[in-house]
Symmetry: C2
């Protein structure tokens, strides 16, 4: 049961000129399942990516980094059912074999193909099935297939995740459309499981890597479901440069800001969608920390709250057991934190003042907010002017059920 | 259902000369419950403690630190049902009032009393009930009451936790007896919720603070249930100096080692008992990390594994989903970790070799180990000679049920 998230309608997702998408059933882990997705990019597209900081990063992540450095990307091949992680040297060979197979069919170099895998860890990728499935995926390729792609990359997700925005630049309509997947093993560190955002905007190619990083910082790097940073997190930004406006040479212009804002909004919605559809989630929680000395320490406190099993189960129970939040603030690792300066709010309700219970706080007010499906926890540290926030969900029986299923 | 843990028998717990214990029902949160425990120490006892590193430390922890610095401790007053944490200035006053009340009855100074509280956070401590309950607790004081004390400090624990050992020093019998409590909000950082170890050994007073730290490092600082460091963690070591052997001036002597080993064993058993009785625990798991450059990085990896909700739910399911362990190793924060050097074992089963699946590994072997109630996960990092270990439990439906209960 995703929290305030609906399946997107196909017609709400604008095609991005220069991007075609095909999906096939390759039988990678289970039969009759769309498990192979291909993005085909016209020549001239710029691509940048940010990837997991997990040192056990998957083989496809290692190959993606190499191939992105090479440039000229023309295709993305994404499989579900198998993460090709914890697979050693053999896994790297299989990821490269995937690229070679796609490159041969498309008549490009293997370095122009980026591989992505998601699914179970430490099992060999059935690369023969991917090779067999590729022709059908390529034959399926259409600009309008964004919803099919969002469905094709799902694993434990209950809903496909896709968002689209259009902005005007020099009187030209520019489109931004993206998809994401992920519901568990979610605590992106650079990017999430899989996120793809494409635009037809014409952007100076040198700007894209920094933009990808900045978009991730405002989206995937601010969500967590269970604190488990995946081996396969990948977030890819594509600019096809097809729109006929003047090239954006800086994001500090009205046109640059319009495009970047649209991209940031799509990235944020995609990242939040992962939390809304987090394994077992019944609530969507914004943890905002203000009054810190640095953004980093605000994030540190926000993640301590967002990862606390005690806080997350209290949200599941709609129990304003707010001492658990204060305890998490206390152990977040700020050595010189002064508890007598800390205030805590649940939405508009002022719960704790100067480190103690606010005398005006009434339990029924906390209870009212805790029953909502969307809640903002706001902590004021009283140490400075920095602020940051993360988005997370609660921790329910359903999470245990999903993850205690044999090999979910 | 605690894992391989039974209630201690009263007769297995040796009294410690110089320590008397009394318990009473003060009705602090619920009626008809032993919720007030008093330790009375003869003059001449040395006392040291280590306390939570949580910056939101509870009022009694702050008062304990002050009073320990003053020295000459004669009594410990422990209540359950209310943690007196997140209570600001008012909470400090209530903790001091508890000490004043006990000091008056015992004709000592308030600084000679240490207060301990455990229970719900952010509610005012009903200090009037403690004052009313104290005379009954004092009247109950007996050297043989260790089991009563272990029962008196229980909260969500399903079993009392107490261990006792005796060693010979210069032909004199020296006793070490201790109790602990705690089942949730357990990731001690210096010490756990409440742990008390007393000995009648004669130990040079200057040695006690460092000993308390060392004992905590080998016990309470190596266990975790849910990663939530409590506001009230307190571990206290008492030496009554009643045994008639030559004073121990160093632990680097046969007598010193014998006493320290007995104390370390009792502390370790008490800490492990907390994990065995962890909220919802069905398995007791030792996470051992070897081949690190430093003990600290071994602990970092061990805690990443021990805190991963995905790893913990896989243990609950007896599912050898070992990629989840590798993923946790990868995100533990060692920046220059080389995944191709990592080996993973489940008890005697060699699961992963050089970062990939061990070709000789068979799923049924992993399955066999995962079904056991006690499991050792061993990770070899291949970076150096350091090693360390932590003890933890799995993550079950029962954990969610316990913590989603209104105000557990």
């Amino acid at each position: 049961m995703a929290v305030n998230l609906n399946a997107p309608r196909a017609e709400s997702l604008h095609a991005v000129a220069g991007v075609r998408i095909g999906v096939a059933e390759a039988g990678i882990r289970k039969a009759n399942r769309k498990d192979l997705t291909v993005f085909l990019l016209d020549e001239g597209a710029a691509v940048a990516g940010v990837f997991t900081q997990n040192r056990f990063c998957a083989a496809p992540v290692q190959v993606c980094r190499e191939h992105l450095a090479h440039g000229g990307v023309r295709a993305l091949v994404i499989n579900t059912g198998n993460a090709n992680a914890g697979t050693g040297e053999d896994g790297l060979v299989r990821a490269r074999t995937t690229c070679i197979a796609a490159a041969r069919l498309l008549d490009v170099a293997p370095e122009q193909v980026l591989p992505f895998s998601t699914g179970v860890i430490m099992e060999p990728l059935p690369v023969d099935r991917i090779e067999k499935g590729l022709p059908a995926a390529l034959a399926d390729a259409q600009p309008a297939h964004w919803l099919r792609a969002a469905e094709g990359i799902m694993t434990t997700d209950t809903l496909p995740k896709a968002f689209s925005r259009q902005v005007q630049v020099d009187g030209v309509t520019v489109t931004v459309t993206g998809i994401s997947k992920g519901a568990g093993m979610i605590r992106p560190n650079m990017a999430t499981m899989l996120g793809f955002v494409a635009t037809d905007a014409k952007i100076a190619p040198g700007l894209l890597p920094a933009l990808a990083l900045e978009l991730a910082e405002g989206s995937f790097n601010r969500v967590t479901v269970d604190g488990d940073t995946s081996t396969n997190d990948s977030f890819v930004v594509i600019a096809t440069n097809k729109a006929r406006h003047a090239e954006i040479a800086s994001f500090d212009t009205p046109a640059g800001r319009a495009v970047k804002d649209a991209m940031q909004e799509v990235a944020r919605l995609l990242a939040q969608a992962i939390v809304r559809d987090g394994e077992g989630a019944t609530k969507f929680i914004t943890v905002r920390v203000e009054g810190g000395q640095t953004g980093a320490e605000c994030r540190q406190v926000a993640y301590a709250i967002a990862h606390s099993p005690l806080v997350k189960t209290a949200f599941f129970a709609s129990d304003p057991n707010l001492g658990r939040i204060l305890a998490a603030v206390g152990y977040a690792g700020i050595a010189d934190l002064d508890q007598t300066k800390i205030d805590l709010y649940l939405d508009d309700v002022h719960v704790a003042r100067q480190g103690g219970r606010n005398p005006a706080y009434r339990e029924e007010d906390g209870q009212r907010v805790m029953k909502q499906a969307e809640i903002t926890v706001r902590v004021v540290l009283g140490r400075g002017d920095a602020a940051d926030q993360v988005w997370t969900c609660d921790f329910s029986h359903e999470y245990v059920t999903i993850n205690a299923d044999y090999r979910s």
